[in-house]
Structure formats: C-alpha cells, structure tokens
C-alpha cells in the first residue's frame, strides 16, 4: 500500500512518535536474540527447535487471540473493543509475518514430531493408524489452510475497516459483522486443529477432545493480557489519553478475569476426567508431568495463570488503575508461556532441564521481531476507527 494523504480527522489520531523508538529497540533486541539463537541452533538443534516451537506458539497466540476478539467485538459491539480495534487490526496484519516464522518448524519437523520419522512409524501400529492424518504433506497442507483462512478473514476485515475510515460507508459496519460471524466459526475450527497438529501431536499417542478449546482460551487470556499492557502504554500520551477511559480498563480486567477462570475450568476438567478414567493412553501424559521439576513448574503455571490474577482482578479499584492492572497482566503472559512449555517439552524429553538458555533467547528473538512488525502496522493508521457508527458513544465521558 502506498502512502496516502491522511484526512484531518485521521491526523488527529496519528500514532505518537515514541512508537518509532520502541519499534527500533524491539527490532534491535529481536535481531540480537535471533543471532544468539542461530548460534544455539548450530550448537544444539534439538533444544533450538523445541524452544522455537514454544516461542512461536506463545507469540502467535497473541495476534490470533486479538484477531478472534476483534471478530467477537464486531458482532457484539461495546466501547471497550472499539477503542482497541486498531490494536486488534495491527496484530491481525502481523499474521503473514508469523506464517513466515512458521517455516523453521517445517525444517525441524523430524526433530520435533516422532510421527514424521518413518523408522518410528514403521514400528508402531498406532502411528500407522494415525498416518492418514499425521503425515508430512497433510501437515503442511493443513498449516497452509489455517494460515490461508486466518489471512483471508484478518486482511479483509482490516481492509474494510480502513475503507470505513476513508469513505464513511454505512454498509461496511454490517458487512464486517457478517464476515466476523463466519470468521469466528472458521477460527474456532482452524485454531483447534492447529493445536492438535502443532502441540498435541508432540505426543502422538495422547489425545484430549478439549485440547482445542484449551488452546483457544489460552489465546484469549494472553491476548487480553497483552492488550492491557499496550493500552496502558498508549493511553499514557496523546492521542489515546483522551480516548481510553478507566471504565475501558475495567472491562479489559473483567475479560481477563473471565479468561483465566475459563482457562482454569477447562484445565481442571481435562485433568479430572483423565485422572478418574485412569486409562493408560491418556493418564501417561499427566504422569510424565508429575515427575521431578515438571510438577513444580505446573504449580507455578497454575499460580501465575489462575490464582494470582483471579484474586487480584476481583478488585474493581485495581481494574480501573491501568498501571496496577498491567502488573497483573504481565504474570499471566509469563504463565501462558510456561504453560505452553509445560505442555510441550515433557512430551519430547522427560528428563530435560526445566529451562534451557535457548528457551529464553528464542522467545525474545521471535518476540522482538514480532513486536517490531506489530508496531510498524500500528503506526500505519489512525489509532481509532474514526467513522465507526458507535464511536461517539464509546468516547462519551472518556
């Protein structure tokens, strides 16, 4: 897209200059960590790939979650989401970039997924049964399909939203609603199957039909936590200082509370059902995660992703105070990352050290690069959808 002239209205909501600074720093940090990761990959490819998988799943969860929330908001309305729509859209537009970041996983597929190793499959009847689904070409084809669906809906929504800014066409609002309803259905299905492919199939014998919902709910929590942190920073300066009000933060806090509760609910349900059934093909997954340090890591995840945010977010005073709310959101993000790590790594190597230096390096590398891409996209538009029919309501008594 070529540079175009901004209208005076758009100009009023132009992104502040400090975003450039943050973007440069994120990019520098990302490149530096990426170089470190490359060194690590040469030294120990196995550790690199597992760290990469967890880092990738963590970072893609944020734009995917924000993309899902933006569709939900198009359908249900609400001022909380209107003032954040440009953050949703900028995050959605980073999905092509994440599709590129998926490529290293293809390179490491044999290191990560046992079902991709012919010699293992040849010896396992179960893997042969699952082969029509768990095989390399189909795995790749499905990944293409997932990204294709996400990009289609995300880019179309983002484009119509920009058209709304320029043309003030009243039909666009309705069109975005309809697209969002279809998109949400497609998103639930594709994100679920993506979780089966990328994360659950690390242990190809294990399965849980709740896994997809667990994954999507985790996205939701991470997305709201990220949103809180960013809206807090954006609301510190003009133009967003006049737009985002404490009641919006109150809503974000409630949403985060709802998602950490949902996360605890689905995590516990899955555990309870598998524990009481006690079937060898299912319980092994949890038995592995009860050993040694994994048990303690699981408790840390539970504390960061549920206990701590749950009790703190009950306070209305805290929810209306952006700085304190952001302090609650950060541990949720750490908890989300550790949760993915806890789900992924014991399937690969039980007696692995709990954390490897590469886990952090790769996380920072993908994160720095992604954040730079996100900020680059965020700057390209007015920070508020200026012609949304509900905007005046949302801005009232801000």
């Amino acid at each position: 897209m070529t540079e175009r002239r901004w209208s005076a209205e758009e100009e009023r909501y132009r992104a502040p200059a400090w975003l450039d600074r943050v973007q440069r720093r994120a990019l520098l940090l990302g490149v530096f960590a990426a170089l470190l990761s490359v060194v690590g990959a040469l030294l120990s490819p196995e550790h690199f790939f597992r760290a990469y998988l967890v880092g990738f799943l963590f970072w893609i969860g944020i734009p995917l979650g924000l993309f899902g929330i933006s569709m939900l908001q198009h359908m249900t309305g609400g001022g909380w989401g209107l003032v954040a729509r440009r953050v949703f859209e900028a995050a959605s537009r980073t999905l092509p970039f994440l599709a590129l970041l998926f490529l290293p996983l293809l390179w490491g597929r044999r290191s990560l997924y046992v079902w991709a190793r012919p010699e293992v499959v040849a010896e396992s009847e179960l893997l042969q049964h699952k082969q029509p689904y768990l095989n390399e070409p189909f795995f790749l084809g499905r990944a293409l399909l997932y990204f294709g669906v996400w990009l289609l809906f995300a880019l179309l929504l983002s484009r119509w939203s920009l058209q709304q800014d320029r043309s003030n066409d009243p039909h666009l609002h309705r069109r975005m609603q309809i697209l969002s309803s279809l998109g949400l259905v497609a998103y639930m299905l594709t994100a679920s199957f993506a979780s089966f492919d990328w994360l659950m199939s690390l242990d190809p014998a294990w399965f849980s039909s709740l896994f997809g919902i667990h994954f999507v709910v985790g996205h939701g929590a991470a997305a709201f936590a990220f949103l809180i942190v960013w809206m807090r920073r954006l609301s510190g300066t003009e133009p967003m200082a006049d737009v985002v009000a404490p009641r919006h933060f109150d809503d974000y806090g409630k949403f985060l509370l709802a998602f950490v509760l949902l996360w605890a609910y689905v995590s516990f349900s899955q555990f309870l059902i598998i524990w009481s059934g006690n079937l060898p093909e299912e319980i092994t997954w949890y038995v592995h995660r009860q050993e040694g340090g994994w048990w303690w890591l699981g408790i840390v995840v539970f504390a960061l992703h549920f206990v701590l945010p749950f009790f703190l977010l009950l306070s209305p005073a805290l929810r209306r105070e952006p700085a304190r709310l952001a302090l609650v959101a950060l541990p949720v993000l750490v908890g989300r990352w550790l949760d993915l790590h806890w789900q992924a790594v014991p399937s690969l190597e039980l007696h692995a050290p709990l954390l490897h230096w590469l886990d952090i390096a790769v996380l920072v590398a993908i994160g720095g690069l992604w954040l730079a891409a996100f900020l680059w996209q965020l700057k390209r538009r007015a920070l508020v959808p200026i012609h949304d029919p509900h905007l005046q309501e949302a801005l009232a008594d801000a």
Partner: protein, 458 residues
C-alpha cells in the same frame, strides 16, 4: 446504552420497549395480567396441563407400587429415560440463570423483559429434573441416604462419585435460583399488594412482599443483594451442567469418556434453555398482548444466542467424531459407527437434523424476524436436545465392550407417561405463575424507560 451493552443495528436501533410507554402504563399493563378476572381461555389451557400432571401422578404411583420394573430399564441399559429426562430438564433451566445472572453482569438491558419468566422456568425445570434421579433410585423414600449425615448404618456417600456431586450441585442450584427469583419479585409483589382490591389478594401479596415500602434504604439493600446473588448464580450456570457431564465423562464407557464434555454440555444446556424460552415467550406475548415488552429485538437476540450455542454443540459433535478415530481406540470407533449405522441410527440422524441442520436457518435474518419460523426452530431444538441425551445414554450402554452382553432398550408406556407427565407438571406450574405473579419485572422495565426517552431527546 453508553457502554458494553450491545446495540445490534446502529443505524436504527430497534427499541427495547415499544415507544409511547410511561411508568404508569407499564405498571398497568403488566399488573393487569394478574389482577384482572381470569381470562376464559385460561381454564381449558390450564386444564390440559393439569390433566398431564394427573398422568404424571398416576405414572409415578404405578412406579412406586410396582417398582422400577415398569420402566424399560434393564442390563445393559440401566440408565434410561430417567437420566435422559433429568439432563434434559436441568439443561432447560440454564437459560433462566444465564439471562438473570450473566446478562445482568454484562449489562445487557434487553434481558429485563424476559428474565422473570425465564427464572420461573428455571425453577420449574429444576423441580422436574430433580424428581427423576429420585424416582430412579427405586426406593425414593430413602433418598436422604444420598446426603452425608451421621447415622448408625456406617453409611457414607462415595465422594469420588459425580452422582454425589450432582446432589450438591443441583440442590444448590435450586436454592440459589429460588432466592434469586424471590428477591427479584419483592418490589413487584409490593406493587400488586398496593393495587389489588380483594382483601385476600392484598394479604397474600402483602405477606409475600415482606413489608417492602420502597424506601431508599430498601432499594439500597435490594440492589446489593441482587448483584451478590447474580455473582453467586453465575458460576452455577457453568458448574451444574459440568457436574452433570461428569456423571458420564469420569466413567470409561466409550462415548462418555471425553474431555470435551463439560463445555459441550454447558453450551447444549444454554442452547436448549433458550429454545424453551422462545417456545414459551412467543405464545405468551401473543395471548397477553405483550408485544410492546417482548419485542422483535428480544427474539432476534435469543436467536443469535441459540445459533452461537448451537454451533458450539456442533463443534462438540465434530470433535467426538474426530477423536473417536484419532484415539485409535477400537471401542470408541465402534461406538461412532454404531451410532450412525446401528439400530438407533434414525435417532442419530434426527438429532443431527434438529440440532445442527435446522439451527443453521437462524443465520438468515428472515428466519430471525419471523415469529412462526423462530418458534418452529425452537421446537426442533427442544426435541433435538432430548434426542442428544437419548443418544449419549443409550447408544453407549447398549453395546459396550463385550458383545455377549449387548442389548436393546426402548421406553415403555410408563416411561413415556412420566416424561409427558413431567411436561404437564412444568406447564401447570408455569400457568399458575402467570396467573398469580407478574411475569415481566415491572420495576425493572420502569428503570429502562427514562433512559430511553433521554436517548431520544439527545
């Protein structure tokens, strides 16, 4: 409507309440349903429901005298209609709690017109639901054995069994729903006390209103209690049906042992509940002329919730099918094949038709706007959700691990009599409620009036 609450179409928001109403006209209109003479049609309608209730009493009497053998239960299908009906009824109740508690916390003002009778529906549905497991005990008079109480028989419930959790979940649910409903009724009972002319009605409503005078202190306490009860009821929407799903999922029977069961059951419950609210709301607003309060917008919003929860249920079906294959477990695979091609295949296809295919009609605004269309879709869902529980309970049990112990199951006359009779119990209670209590919350409708007129001025 400043924040949070969704206004569906921005250009021309359909009003929550038809224009032209004042505080007085709202009170007159809703209170008159209760205070005027009984309309003629009420007697045959209530009479029909009452006849079904008598059928229920007769069927239960036969059951108690002759034993559970009059039902079609046997090994291998030892959980038949009783459990199906229990899950069906308790699911129907969930819409009431969702409307009254969750939509209140989400500041969805449109709930105001439907919350009262949806809550009543919850109570009556839970009453129907609660009877079935008790009747299923065989010796229902010993039902107190389910509670952990000190006794000389060394009898203690097995706390690892979800059936015991059910006892607590359902009784808590019934209690909280009752309190919520009653607390919400108090200001309206006072209105009726002040408006009724007959000494008996005045005394009756006066006692029920517990001395409500509408002072600001009363309102202050009231608001606090109501929000607190809403907070208490909200987790119950999720927990009750999750516990019901554990009844199945913690076992290792193929088709029952699936981790997706809790959220899938909860979505199914809300789906069924909204279908029942629509089933009741459409005739009620027609016979009492309540179109001004239960507007097209209410029906449309309910249609959207039905579509959303219906899609979650369909997602559950997709996951069931996929994981039966993916698990590599031959029993799970057989269970699915047996559902689709076995002796109960007609029920399975009917279930898919009702819950998945017909529900997709709600995508079309034309269907959502059509009162008849909505009612027909809701009836399909009512039937579909009963069939779903039938499929889950029966197909998993009738052919499990050992072919030598396979068997068939069908309901006997007395099974059907209890099911149809329980609908009579539900409808009788519903008719009495409509006749004696305001089915729409008068004071809450009043609170959304001035805000609306303010909106029109600006």
């Amino acid at each position: 409507m400043a924040d949070g609450s969704a206004s569906v179409t921005p250009a021309a928001p359909t009003p929550l309440i038809a224009p032209g109403h004042t505080t007085a006209s709202v009170t007159d209109k809703i209170a008159s349903v209760v205070l005027q003479r009984t309309p003629r049609w009420f007697y045959p309608a209530f009479g029909a429901a009452f006849l079904l209730l008598m059928l229920f009493l007769y069927a239960v009497t036969v059951l108690l005298v002759r034993g559970t053998g009059v039902w079609g239960l046997n090994v291998p299908v030892a959980w038949g209609f009783a459990i199906i009906n229990f899950v069906w009824w308790i699911g129907i109740g969930h819409a009431g709690t969702l409307i009254s508690a969750i939509l209140l916390l989400l500041r969805q003002e449109w709930r105001t017109s439907i919350n009262r009778f949806a809550e009543a529906m919850t109570l009556f549905a839970v009453a129907c639901a609660g009877l079935f497991p008790i009747l299923h005990l065989g010796r229902p008079w010993l039902m107190y054995w389910l509670f952990p109480y000190p006794n000389t028989m060394s009898l203690w419930p097995q706390f690892r069994s979800p059936l015991v959790w059910d006892v607590f979940a359902v009784s808590t649910y019934a209690l909280v729903s009752l309190m919520f409903w009653y607390v919400g009724l108090i200001p309206d009972l006072a209105t009726l006390r002040d408006r009724s002319r007959h000494w008996f009605a005045r005394t009756f409503y006066g006692v029920m209103a517990m001395g409500w005078r509408g002072s600001s202190a009363h309102w202050h306490n009231y608001e606090k209690a109501y929000i607190l009860l809403a907070g208490l009821a909200t987790p119950l929407v999720i927990s009750v049906h999750s516990v019901v799903s554990f009844d199945f999922a913690v076992g290792v029977i193929p088709g029952w042992h699936a981790t997706i069961f809790p959220p899938y059951f909860v979505a199914g419950a809300i789906f069924a509940g909204f279908a029942m609210v629509v089933t009741l709301a459409i005739p009620l607003r027609a016979v009492f002329g309540l179109h001004d309060f239960i507007t097209a917008r209410h029906l449309r919003n309910m249609a959207k919730i039905m579509l959303a929860t219906g899609l979650i249920v369909a997602y559950g079906y997709v996951m069931e099918l996929f994981f039966a294959w993916y698990s590599g477990n031959p029993f799970e695979q057989f269970m699915v094949i047996n559902r689709i091609t076995g002796p109960y295949r007609t029920a399975w296809f009917a279930l898919i038709l009702c819950n998945v295919l017909v529900t997709q009609l709600l995508w079309f605004p034309k269907v959502r706007r059509s009162v008849i269309g909505m009612w027909i879709v809701a009836m399909f869902i009512n039937v579909g959700m009963w069939l779903e529980r039938f499929i889950i309970v029966v197909t998993s049990l009738h052919r499990d691990f050992l072919p030598s112990s396979w068997g068939m199951y069908s309901g006997t006359f007395w099974d059907w009599a209890v099911l149809i009779g329980s609908i009579g119990l539900f409808l009788s209670l519903m008719f009495l409620f409509i006749r004696f209590l305001p089915m729409i919350s008068i004071f809450e409708i009043r609170t959304i009036l001035p805000k609306r007129s303010r909106g029109e001025v600006s």
